[in-house]
């Protein structure tokens, strides 16, 4: 009976004629296969947040080791991948906290003077968008852009141009969906510095993808 069931499972779910529920993952847990089953997924998840291959590899290792230690806490209710990803999220936040501790807070992180030329005008409308540097009507459609790998390459390069701490603040907010207070206490930031850095990231990214994607001819 047991052998029959194993054989059926080995044959894959496609052969199943009945609608009996698929056995829970609880007894399928197999740490030896984690690297092959979820390694790349976890690595990419970490890479897009940390933008550094070595750090991303490190957090994947830390995550799997931590998971191994806490195997008993795995309830089997979430899928293996969801469970590992939840651990990874914590490890990424730890990693970001550490790397922000290493780099002292730069006053330039909250310096917005690079945008001053965008708001310089010869006429009486002081502080309004310059005619030549204001946001343009884009040549290419945003709906098309998100279908293309090249666009995300441009977006990544634009993220890479942000100062490290600014990029971390922005990704923590946009991707991990931590709230403002959590990020501020994690990175020891004042709320006003947080808002300035978010604004800086938005200004830079919008302009960068405008120049490098949306105003370029196809």
């Amino acid at each position: 009976m047991i052998r029959q069931q194993t054989a059926r499972l080995a044959a894959g779910e496609t052969d199943r004629m009945d609608n009996t529920p698929i056995p829970t993952v609880e007894w399928n847990i197999d740490p030896a296969a984690w690297v092959d089953d979820h390694g790349d997924y976890l690595f990419r998840y970490a890479l897009v947040r940390l933008r550094d291959d070595v750090r991303a590899e490190d957090v994947v290792q830390e995550t799997l080791l931590a998971a191994l230690q806490h195997l008993s806490s795995y309830s089997g209710r979430a899928t293996e991948r969801t469970w590992l990803t939840a651990i990874l999220k914590h490890k990424i936040v730890d990693q970001i906290r550490k790397s922000c501790k290493e780099v002292p807070f730069e006053p330039s992180d909250t310096d917005l003077s690079e945008f001053d030329p965008l708001f310089e005008r010869p006429d009486e409308f002081k502080g309004h968008w310059s005619d030549t540097l204001s946001p343009r009507i884009w040549n290419r459609s945003p709906e098309d852009a998100v279908q293309q790998d090249e666009f995300f390459g441009v977006l990544q390069r634009c993220m890479g141009k942000l100062p490290e701490r600014v990029a971390h603040v922005f990704t923590l907010r946009e991707m991990n969906e931590l709230d403002t207070e959590e990020i501020c206490s994690l990175l020891e930031l004042s709320t006003s510095n947080f808002w300035v850095m978010m604004h800086r990231a938005r200004m830079s990214l919008r302009r960068c993808i405008e120049i490098n994607w949306f105003m370029k001819a196809k």
Binding site: P31, S134, P135
Partner: protein, 104 residues
Amino acid sequence: MSELTIYQRITKFFRRTILRTFPSCKEIVHVISASLDRPLTLRERFLMKLHLFACKPCVRYLDQSAFVSQAIKIMDEREKLDLFAGSLSDSARSRIKSALATAS
């Protein structure tokens, strides 16, 4: 036809008055950025709406920044699933495997 021109002239007059009297684009873009992250105060909402009525580039700044946010989230989803975004190097793969084997 001439009535439309009068309407346009009135609108133009209001727009210029708003731009001259109320906070400039340089200040309003902070509010627009913040609007993507948190609920605005009543005062901020009023100033932003008023300004957006008068200023087309700021409307574009809002729309395009909202798109950036959306694109970041789409990138996050795609990166996890698509191989183009990279994979564990062979050395890291074997290092992690042996670390796991030692620990278990």
